[in-house]
Symmetry: C3
């Protein structure tokens, strides 16, 4: 079974994936961007992701995306795929999982974690990397907009690629630290366990 795990940036996706790996050590965790870079290095000899984005012409880049998706599509066993449904670009949202990519990747489930925007803001503030790179601080409305757009893009992908869209509702205040992580990880483990 292949599950794509998605959330807005800084919401705690990495922690959830780690917890799934602890609970289910056999699961393969695959980052779509990493697979793309691996293919790009082999084919085009690029040195890093930045070069990948800048040196490869757009048409080739799309082929690369499809090739990487196809490679993930061939994986067997329980696979957890780390990627984004939307990428912020030009003040808007670019599809991270376009229709044809999802058709090659063949996930069974898009697992979409949704949070209260204020919880996302709190987590981002705690995340030192966020502070260091000085990325723009998003307000609750912008976060909520991305959550909504993620839903629409998940459905467009699922309609074309035929997979389940599961909305993991984590829109409540935690009663203890890492409650959301634990709840989301257990949902995923249950999905993998049948």
């Amino acid at each position: 079974m292949k599950i794509v795990i998605v959330a807005v940036p800084g919401a705690g996706k990495t922690t959830v994936m780690k917890r799934v790996k602890e609970l289910l050590p056999k699961v393969k965790i695959v980052n779509y961007g990493d697979v793309m870079f691996k293919v790009a290095r082999e084919r085009y000899g690029v040195k890093d992701r930045d070069e990948m984005r800048k040196k490869i012409p757009i048409e080739e880049y799309r082929k690369l995306q499809l090739e990487a998706a196809r490679e993930i599509g061939r994986l067997t066993g329980n696979v957890l795929i780390d990627t984004h449904l939307t990428i912020k670009m030009h003040g808007g949202f670019y599809p991270g999982l376009p229709a044809d990519v999802v058709a090659e990747m063949k996930p069974d489930i898009i697992f979409l974690m949704e949070f209260r925007p204020e919880d996302v803001i709190e987590r981002r503030l705690k995340d030192l990397k966020g502070v260091r790179t000085g990325r723009d601080v998003e307000g609750p409305e912008e976060i909520e907009l991305q959550q909504q757009m993620n839903r629409y893009f998940a459905v467009a992908a699922a309609s074309y690629g035929r997979c389940v869209v599961r909305i993991a509702n984590l829109r409540y205040k935690q009663s203890r630290p890492y409650e959301h992580t634990e709840v989301a990880a257990k949902m995923i483990v249950e999905l993998f366990s049948g």
Copy 2:
């Protein structure tokens, strides 16, 4: 003209279809799942729907879906197609009318009935079958989520298959029994009548 009629389960779709048939006896009412089963029986010799789902490999199953959609696409006259936009699976939503299926089925209109969740709950409780099979009782939020997901899936299908998405707003308290049925049936009859 071909119209796909959709609503969340237990909202009263069957009653609306019966009323349309009374008002417009020449209309053909076609159940997508029935057509799939008919094709599956001819091709694979399956005995019932359960066997169809379990015995046919996934790739063949998809061909079957397309074949059944194509058969519906060839129908002439006024056709009312009974199917689901979303099927609950793995705690999420699987497309009942994926992009390629709608492209073969060639409906003119997806007629999406929306209700107040409390009215859906009331109708489900009255429906004896629901009680007998002991299906999980959904709360208003789950029903509303499926209504929202139905909208998104309807649009994804329409964008690929080029058809109209008509939202039939039945989100109000009935002033007499079967008011929703009557209103929805008349809308459909008007659409068929040009």
Copy 3:
């Protein structure tokens, strides 16, 4: 760069396009319907848009849409494309920019302007043409529904055609006349300027 500009009818899109042209005279403004008509006139000898819609069989009409989209897709430089995401038909919404059309048109950005419904109503009432043709007066809920549907159709198109969906939030009361026009036009100029 190619930008598709979209809003509900009567919201002020034409005024925004004129302002963009003033600020950035080199931008090409292209109306999708005009390009379709030009192709239809050459191919089918139709005299006006009305004849185009009525005389061309549906399958040919679709080819025409794709042909016109392809022609726009070949344009270079900064192009602002004027079209609709949804067309009101049969009491519902027909895709103005279906999946395959957007794939041929190859826009970089779908620029979706959203307004407070009451502002749209006010602008429509001021628009003399609207009064003359006596078109049905839509209430705030109908306008808001079309704005929501535009979002979903924008995402479906972007997922298939791989482009950015930018939501231009103009959902606030203007503090001076033409503030929305000025704000939207500047956003577009910035996008073109890189």
